[in-house]
């Protein structure tokens, strides 16, 4: 299938990185960037392809994280099974929030605000409810065995998050090449026209929301295994809602590689800011805001859009070059 080769090559190249003996700091940087890439890819399914901009994807990140942590801590469930259950719970949360918002016809900024409200309500609930550890948060018991989804070294973690990101890339590529994907993009472009062409708009949005939420929940579940700690601010806080939308917007909304590219850029910027100014609170958000304004003003289609334009210019310059192959979606 078209595009799959590129995804596998990129994944293989990234998988080889630890073989060159990179430092733990670098590896840690890459793992956190890939967590954002995964969450960003989840957001991209609904926001990039479906045009439904959520400001509250923390709702799914947090649900994936908490369900996994709680099942392990309070019910002694195996970590891998808890991780899978967290993904399922995230998908369910997506179905509930999506069902409520889309059925009542919320669109545009109303949808964005309602998703933000859901995430905030969950954050407040989690910060007062005993089962989520209330204000203290939850510490997952140290148990450094692969069966417990915990490892001595960061390398296996890196490979696992890379595998998850790769799966998300393949899922999005498959969506691009499917009827569901065509309907989703049609809904983004013009809901009335989509309806006239037999598209069940609510069902398509809901489907996208569930897939989107499940992917973001996987990022949350992985976060818990990696850091062995979660609290309300991390799980349901605005930081993850923002980074999950920032990565695809900077990298290129509605493209396969946009979220991965954007996540790397966002994290590099975040680290650079820390180096220059120390760890001043809120500074990263200010920088993100500035970058967002710049991207929207100068390159509304993100890095992927800039790359596509450059490529088109190069193709045009060669007189013997054939016209570009028709593509199903706009992917990098």
């Amino acid at each position: 299938m078209k595009g799959v080769g590129t995804i596998l090559v990129v994944a293989a190249l990234l998988a080889a990185v630890p073989l060159f003996g990179v430092s733990n700091v670098t590896l840690n940087f890459l793992v956190t960037a890939l967590i954002i890439a995964l969450a960003g890819q989840g957001w991209n399914v609904l926001g990039g392809y479906g045009g439904q901009y959520s400001f509250g994807h923390a709702a799914f990140f947090g649900t994936g994280a908490y369900v996994s942590a709680i099942l392990q801590l309070r019910y002694g469930v195996n970590a891998w099974i808890a991780f899978a259950a967290g993904i399922g719970a995230g998908a369910l949360a997506g179905a509930i929030i999506g069902g409520l918002s889309f059925r009542s016809g919320l669109r545009g900024s109303y949808f964005a605000l309602v998703t933000l409200a859901f995430a905030e309500v969950l954050r407040i609930l989690a910060s007062v409810t005993p089962i989520t550890g209330a204000g203290v948060g939850l510490l997952v018991k140290l148990d450094l065995r692969p069966e417990a989804f915990q490892f001595q070294s960061r390398v296996p973690f890196y490979w696992i998050i890379l595998a998850l990101v790769t799966v998300s890339l393949l899922i999005v590529r498959a969506i691009e090449n499917s009827r569901f994907g065509a309907y989703l993009v049609a809904v983004r472009e013009n809901e009335e026209a989509a309806k006239a062409l037999g598209v069940n708009v609510i069902a398509v949005k809901l489907g996208a929301m569930v897939i989107s939420a499940a992917i973001v929940a996987a990022a949350g579940g992985f976060y818990v295994q990696y850091f062995l700690f979660i609290d309300a601010g991390i799980a349901y806080g605005p930081w993850i809602s923002i980074e999950a939308l920032l990565a695809p917007i900077i990298g290129g909304v509605g493209t396969v590689f946009g979220p991965l590219l954007g996540a790397l850029v966002v994290k590099v910027l975040g680290e650079a800011a820390k180096l220059v100014t120390g760890d001043a609170p809120g500074l990263d958000l200010m920088i993100y805001g500035g970058v967002l304004v710049l991207v929207i003003a100068l390159a509304p289609r993100g890095i992927a859009g800039v790359v596509a334009d450059l490529r088109a210019r190069i193709v045009r310059r060669k007189p013997e070059a054939k016209p570009e192959q028709p593509t199903a979606g706009h992917h990098v």
Binding site: N177, S178, R179, G181, A182, Y183, V185, A186, E189, N190, E192, A193, A194, K195, A196, L197, G198, V199, N200, V201, P323, E324, P326, A328
Partner: protein
């Protein structure tokens, strides 16, 4: 009039606040023909199409499609059941190419992406868009957008096709190109209801003409009956219209 009735509109009314946009309109559209719906601006023609295609609920009345009441059925279901519409104000998927636009419609019967794209190519050729397939819909001319509306609707393989002023905004030579395309639809087994202001096209295409005025059907008949009804024509299409229609009818035979 022995053809079976494909669509029966029964005393449909539609109220927008204080405005009665459609006022107890009733008519039948026979299968396998082109029925034209004409009438002055604001008569309620587009509103009737919106009701038939499920985009708006009527305030009262019934719409029978092949004998079944379809009021309350959502638009995507009606599209699946064989009713396609075009929009008077064109509604392209602006960021997609012409091919991708048409493929959305083709997906109704083609689950696989490659098949839907191939079907799109074939339909584009039928409506004269074959050389624009890779163009973004946003870059099309008015005529191109009207063709795209028609192509997307055709991609659904409809049994009933509602065309809302697909000739409006086209120059005379573009109209001449489109007329045979529309006439060809009937040969493919599609029943057509068309809203149209361009009279010579109506005279040339329709077997049956309905006149809507202030939400009411005030006349119905063959094009020559309508054209020969000076009362209808003068009252609702303006002075001199009767003469113009007769001339147009004679010119096209």
């Amino acid at each position: 009039m022995s053809d079976p009735v494909m669509l029966r509109v029964e005393t449909i009314s539609k109220r927008f606040g204080g405005l009665l946009a459609v006022d107890g309109a009733s008519f039948d559209a026979q299968a396998g023909r082109i029925t034209a719906l004409i009438g002055p601006n604001g008569a309620g023609k587009t509103t009737l199409f919106s009701i038939i295609s499920g985009f708006q609920p009527p305030t009262s009345g019934r719409v029978l499609f092949e004998g079944e009441n379809i009021v309350g059925v959502p638009p995507h279901r009606l599209a699946q059941r064989g009713i396609a519409r075009t929009f008077q104000i064109v509604q392209p998927f602006a960021g997609l190419t012409v091919r991708e636009n048409i493929a959305v419609g083709a997906h109704l019967s083609q689950p696989r992406r490659a098949d839907a794209l191939a079907a799109a190519d074939e339909i584009a050729a039928r409506v004269g868009l074959a050389d624009q397939l890779d163009k973004p819909a946003a870059g099309l001319t008015v005529a191109g957008r009207k063709r795209l509306e028609l192509a997307r609707a055709l991609a659904l393989k409809p049994r009933l096709l509602l065309l809302d002023e697909v000739l409006a905004g086209l120059n005379p030579s573009e109209v001449r190109d489109m007329v045979p395309v529309i006439r060809g639809l009937v040969d493919q087994g599609i029943t057509v209801i068309m809203i149209e202001h361009i009279m010579h096209a109506v005279m040339n295409l329709a077997q049956h003409v309905l006149v809507l005025s202030e939400g009411r059907i005030i006349a119905g008949g063959t094009p020559s009956e309508i054209a020969g009804n000076p009362h209808v024509v003068e009252a609702y299409l303006g002075r001199g219209a009767a003469q113009r229609m007769l001339q147009a009818g004679a010119a096209y035979g």
